[in-house]
Subunit: 229 residues, 2 copies
DNA sequence: CCAAAAGTGTTCACGGTACACCCATGC
DNA sequence: GCATGGGTGTACCGTGAACACTTTTGG
């Protein structure tokens, strides 16, 4: 007990809701706890914040440690503080959410496969602590944000087809979109670079590939453009 | 130094960006610090979080203590954590923003008038700590949110005219709106109750008064309605 | 009667939506 | 040649934007 204060201080942790997408569903990464409390329960990856570390740094570090992913979209979600949310002591947790590309990073669970796994967002097991609430908050944020900010691209490989992009929105927003209207809308935004390449190794007509043009997006934004799906 | 921990714990505070509106501008409440550090500098109202108090409770309590306002719209904004943001020790602050009605509550600065004052958002003095960044974040959030959530009403008295409402949006969004289009849009939403009353004590034609119909709003939302200005 | 703000309709352009068939490729 | 997904255009409707004058009230 080396650290003393005149007034009680809460412990502060970060927890990460890490979203990934494959062809079937939107998923999040969970880890199986190896310690009490909630031993053997699934939980969001997370941990304590170092005393000289910003929350952002701590969240990036946790993501790195749990998944091996170094660079990805990450954003602060919300801070959860209900006294009693951790049975051990007063713990305030700052939640982040990240969007990662499941195909490019074949998540090398440093932690072994039994203790880390991807779960479809509509089939999440009981979670430790108040992590279900954190997950719900993250999913709602993602659903809201994906419609008016071009963050969905972070879930796709750098080169993607319009069908992949459409599927992404359909999975996240949980509603079907009209193919012709979707393409018209996306292409009219002039946010995508046509790579003049096509898919390989598919057993049907190969789709054209595009990439998200970040530079162009920033320029459009300055001119008052509003992204919206 | 009565409170000891095995690992160092940061201190946790809440800070509140309290927005109010009068006929000239959007304002925030600042208080003048009476202690080091940043003695005599203006700062956002805030303070330490009790060890058995949720952040929400702490923010509500601070608002109460500084302004006497008990009930108002309040929402968590963001958590600021840069090491070094407080010169004394590691302090993580969870910022909230509140919308209050300047006309109904004649803010009784329990703290005397010299040490608490309203400042127009486009004339904010240098602030203590990283409070300028917190303020900017709050203003951006408000500007973004006011367009697609009916939170602007929280800044107005319960009974208001359409001109007051339009002025509100013009002040927050910093752009003029067309009167006829604005009225058409707002009234078509059917979110306002026409009170069949008019202003009193004005030296020109008295405007009709309306109130925001919260119940109706919730019903519309369930049916897929999207508020947008 | 003047000042000050309230209140009121129409036209036009654009973007959203609905909708069905042919094309390319691999097996 | 068939299965699988890729790719394309048009017509209609509703909403957003531009725009100016009359009405009411108090002083």
């Amino acid at each position: 007990m080396k650290y003393s204060y005149e007034y009680p201080h809460p412990a502060v942790t970060v927890d990460c809701v890490i979203f990934g997408l494959d062809s079937e569903s939107l998923k999040i990464l969970l880890i199986k706890r190896k310690e009490e409390p909630f031993i053997n329960k699934w939980a969001l990856p997370g941990g304590f914040v170092g005393i000289n570390e910003s929350l952002e740094d701590a969240a990036v570090r946790e993501l790195q440690e749990e998944t091996g992913i170094k660079k990805s979209y990450m954003e602060q979600l919300y801070t959860f503080s209900e006294p009693g949310r951790d049975p051990r002591e007063r713990v305030i947790t700052v939640a982040y959410y990240a969007l990662v590309n499941l195909e490019e990073h074949q998540i090398n669970a440093k932690t072994d496969a039994l203790s880390a796994a991807w779960f479809s967002v509509d089939d999440i097991p009981k979670l430790a602590f108040d992590h279900e609430m954190i997950f719900e908050t993250a999913l709602n944020r993602l659903r809201g944000k994906v419609r008016y900010q071009p963050i969905g691209f972070e879930l796709l490989p750098k080169k993607f087809s319009l069908s992949q992009l459409q599927k992404l929105y359909e999975l996240i927003l949980e509603k079907p979109l009209d193919k012709r209207n979707f393409r018209k809308k996306i292409l009219n935004m002039e946010l995508l670079t046509d790579l003049d390449e096509v898919q390989e190794d598919v057993n049907h007509r190969a789709a054209r590939l595009y990439s998200f043009n970040e530079k162009r997006y920033r320029k459009l934004i300055k001119d008052g453009f509003n992204f919206e799906i």
